[in-house]
Point group: C2
Chain length 273, copies 2
C-alpha cells in the first residue's frame, strides 16, 4: 500500500510549534494523538532537564530525537573544546529524556577554508562518539541545504554525510534525512540507498514556491514541490521504519494556534507522505 492510514510514526518536531512550551506541546500531542515528539534544547532549558523529564515521563509521548548537537568548528582548540563539552551535555539530555538519537547540525566553517571546517566536524564527532556510546545515544548527522553552508553547516549533501558517518560504526553514527535539505539532489535515491542501515531519522516539510525566506520559508507538506511519498518510500527501502518528524520553520505556521497546526499536519501526513 502506498499511503499511510495511521499516524503511529508521526512525530512533532517541537520547532513546528515554536510558541508552545514543552508542556504545551506535550499536551497538544496528547490531545491530537500524535505519539512522538522531537525536543529542542532551548525548550528543555526553559524549564530545566528534570522538569522536562517529568513532563515527558508521565505523558506516554515517545521521543524521536533531541535537536541539536554539532556546531563543531571553532578558531581555537579551547573553543572547540567548549563545543565538545556542550555536545556532551546534549548527549546527557538525550539520554535522560529517553531519546535514542542526538541530531547533529555540524556548524559552519570557522574560517574561509571549508575543507578545514569539515575536518573539524569529523574530529568533533570522533571525540563525541565514545561518550555518546556509553550513554546509549546515537549521533545523527543531518546534512543541511547548501544555502546554509556558510552560516550553519559545512555538511550540505547526503553524500558527504554518509561518507562521514561511514568513518564510524553504523550502530553509533548515522544520518538524518530531511527532505527540505536534500530534495534537489540528482543523486538522492542512490545516496539514500547508500545510507542503508545508517538512517537515524526522517524529517518532512515542503519547499514552497516562491520561497519566502531562506530560514523561515519551509512549508507544510503538500504546499510545495517535494516528492514526499517517493522519498519516504526510498528511506523505508533503505531500512528506516522509525518516527517521521514534521520540522517546519515558518513564521505563519508559528503564528497559527498549535492545535490547528497539529490537525493540519496529521491531515497532510496521511494525504502526502
Amino acid at each position: 500500500m502506498n499511503h499511510f492510514n495511521s499516524i503511529d510514526r508521526l512525530s512533532l518536531n517541537q520547532i513546528t510549534t515554536e510558541k508552545w512550551s514543552l508542556k504545551e506541546a506535550v499536551d497538544g500531542c496528547l490531545r491530537a494523538d500524535v505519539p512522538w515528539m522531537a525536543l529542542w534544547r532551548h525548550k528543555i532549558s526553559e524549564i530545566g532537564l528534570r522538569e522536562s523529564k517529568n513532563i515527558i515521563k508521565g505523558s506516554g509521548i515517545k521521543i524521536s530525537s533531541v535537536c541539536r548537537g554539532g556546531m563543531f568548528p571553532a578558531t581555537t582548540a579551547k573553543l572547540r573544546q567548549v563545543a565538545i563539552d556542550d555536545n556532551k551535555r546534549a548527549v546527557d539530555e538525550a539520554a535522560e529524556l529517553g531519546a535514542e538519537v542526538l541530531v547533529l547540525v555540524c556548524g559552519p566553517s570557522a574560517g574561509k577554508d571549508i575543507s578545514e571546517g569539515r575536518k573539524m566536524v569529523e574530529e568533533g564527532i570522533e571525540e563525541l562518539v565514545p561518550y555518546a556510546e556509553e550513554r546509549g545515544i546515537k549521533l545523527g548527522i543531518e546534512p543541511l541545504h547548501p544555502m546554509y553552508a556558510a552560516e550553519r553547516s559545512v555538511i550540505v549533501s547526503l553524500s558527504e554525510a554518509v561518507t562521514l558517518s561511514e568513518k564510524f560504526q553504523a550502530k553509533q553514527v548515522g544520518v538524518v534525512v530531511d527532505v527540505f535539505h536534500v530534495w534537489w539532489d540528482h543523486d538522492l535515491y542512490n545516496q539514500i540507498n547508500r545510507a542503508k542501515g545508517r538512517i537515524l531519522g526522517f524529517h518532512i516539510s515542503d519547499w514552497i514556491v516562491p520561497t519566502p525566506d531562506m530560514l523561515m520559508g519551509r512549508g507544510m507538506m503538500g504546499d510545495g514541490v517535494i516528492e514526499l511519498r517517493r522519498i519516504r518510500q526510498a528511506v523505508e527501502k533503505a531500512g528506516y521504519g522509525g518516527p517521521i518528524e514534521v520540522e517546519i520553520f515558518n513564521q505563519k505556521i508559528w503564528d497559527t494556534p498549535g492545535d490547528e497546526v497539529l490537525a493540519l499536519m496529521k491531515e497532510r501526513y496521511l494525504e502526502h507522505v
Copy 2:
C-alpha cells in the same frame, strides 16, 4: 605566480551593472579598460540585435558569452517547442554578436517530478545542438545553486552538469562554473577536474554572510566566504584560460554608479581572484 597582475581576462557580465544600457556598459568598459563583456538578452532586446551588434563591433570589446538560453521544461510538447524556438533565437544572437558561448540556465521542472524536468532539459539540449553547431556557438550548461532548483534550474550541481554535458561532444556542449552556485560542494575540486576540456566559462562573485536575499544577495569578490583564488586555479588546471565574468545580482551594487562598480571590481579581481 598566484595572483593576476593584469585584467586581460576580466569580463563584465552585464547584470552587474543592471541599470546601464548596452551602450552605457560598453562605454563604461572602454573607460575602465575592461576588455570583455557578457551580454544579457533583455539588454540586447531593448535596442534590437542590429543596433547591439553595431555598438559592439566598433568598440573593440570582446564578448565572453550571451546569457541566457535554457528554460527547457514545459507541460506540453507545444510549449517545449516554443522554448526551443526561443533558444534558437538566442543562438542566432550569440552568433551575430561574436560570442562563442550561449549560457544555459536550464529551467525548473514543469511538474513535481524533478527527474522528468531533467529529462526535458536533456531533450532540449539535444534538439538545440545541431542548430548551435551550424552557427559556431557552444552551449554552456550552468549549474545553479540548489536553492534555485524549484524556480530556475533543475541542474543544481557541477556533477550533474558535467554528466549531462558528456552526452554530447566536448566541442559542442560544456559547463559554466559559477563560484556562487558551486562553492559549497564537498566534491567541487574533483568535479572541476572531471570537467577538463569542457569548461566554457568561469563566473565570479562572493557569498556574503549573513546572506541578505536568495536572489539578490551576491557580493563583490572579497566580501564573502568563497575561496575564489583556489577555485580559479582549479579551473585553470582543468584547462580553462578564457575570460572571467563578474556576475553580481545585488540591489546595492545595482544602485551604485557603474564606473564605481567597475573600479571596485577591477581592484577586487586583482586582489582576490
